[in-house]
Subunit: 86 residues, 5 copies
């Protein structure tokens, strides 16, 4: 997983039917993380813009969030209260 900050959201009307009902947030990984550059993650836990979150990528984002048959490769899975990277 990586830690990042929610910096925006994405609006998409015409999309894969398995994505309907999902919220798409833009996450900027912390500078110390292995991932450089932003990604789009679904939000399963109500993260708001500005919040620091834990993001799971790959098949974990589908299978681990109860949407195994949706074309999702990144999901916000936790709100970070505290960590040594902040």
């Amino acid at each position: 997983m990586i830690i990042g900050k929610v910096i925006g959201s994405v609006v998409s009307t015409r999309k894969n039917e398995n994505l309907v009902g999902n919220k798409f947030m833009i996450v900027e990984p912390l500078k110390s993380m292995k991932m450089a550059g932003n990604l789009v993650a679904t939000d399963n836990i109500g993260a708001g813009i500005g919040e620091v979150v834990l993001v799971a990528t790959g098949s974990a984002a589908r299978v681990g969030c109860g949407v195994a048959s949706a074309p999702i490769d990144a999901a916000i899975v936790g709100i970070v209260d505290d960590c040594s990277e902040l």
Copy 2:
């Protein structure tokens, strides 16, 4: 997922039989995204050249788009109407 712009398409006559019927588009990720450099994604929703799209990668592109047994690792899964990155 990443956000990118459709900049072209790929023509391939001799290909894996599980790919027949798919359209292959070249997508250039937005500069702010984690992915640098273009990728080829199947198009499930009729994206045209110049459109800004949401792309899912990895197993999500197969399993999440109803083509679990096709050798596809990236798929356009939404047309982006608006996002803070544009």
Copy 3:
């Protein structure tokens, strides 16, 4: 897998229900490794801060650690006693 050093932990109260009970550690890959920048991994074996560990990423972290339905994409799977990279 990659080898890294545990440098901190992450506290997350509001999180995906499949993550409850897991410990999240921040791992800094050794300089010689393919991965540049830190990642967050669950800890299955009681690694402490400062310890050098083996980290598995991707679906291996879920399926190989008995938590196939959790949104986990990285897990500490061994404590490194010795290796030529140290």
Copy 4:
């Protein structure tokens, strides 16, 4: 998927038994692609050295090419006739 040029092949006599019978080609991604540096891909469609090909990576290379139980993470899945990147 990425587009690349077949620049060589790999000879391996002692290998995993699930790999027996496969051809391994070295593919150099086009400069415009997201992947920098060469990879080794199995060839399912008879690509020759010098040909420009479409390569699928990850689980798609196994599952999508009818070799789900082989340790293959990249496969040539099409010969590119034409694309805007050439």
Copy 5:
């Protein structure tokens, strides 16, 4: 897959029980490969230090090597006799 040279091994006494009995080797990818920096791979075929090997990563390393339930994300799957990269 990528081609690399075995440059060392890893000793880990305290590890995930599904890893017991595996040998962990450190592989340095060839300079021409897409992967920069070393990785740790299990060895299924008896590769020695200094040998040039083919490494599969991701789920292919587990599923393709008969250890689908082990937390393994990279495996040596062949000894390279000859290739145009050497």
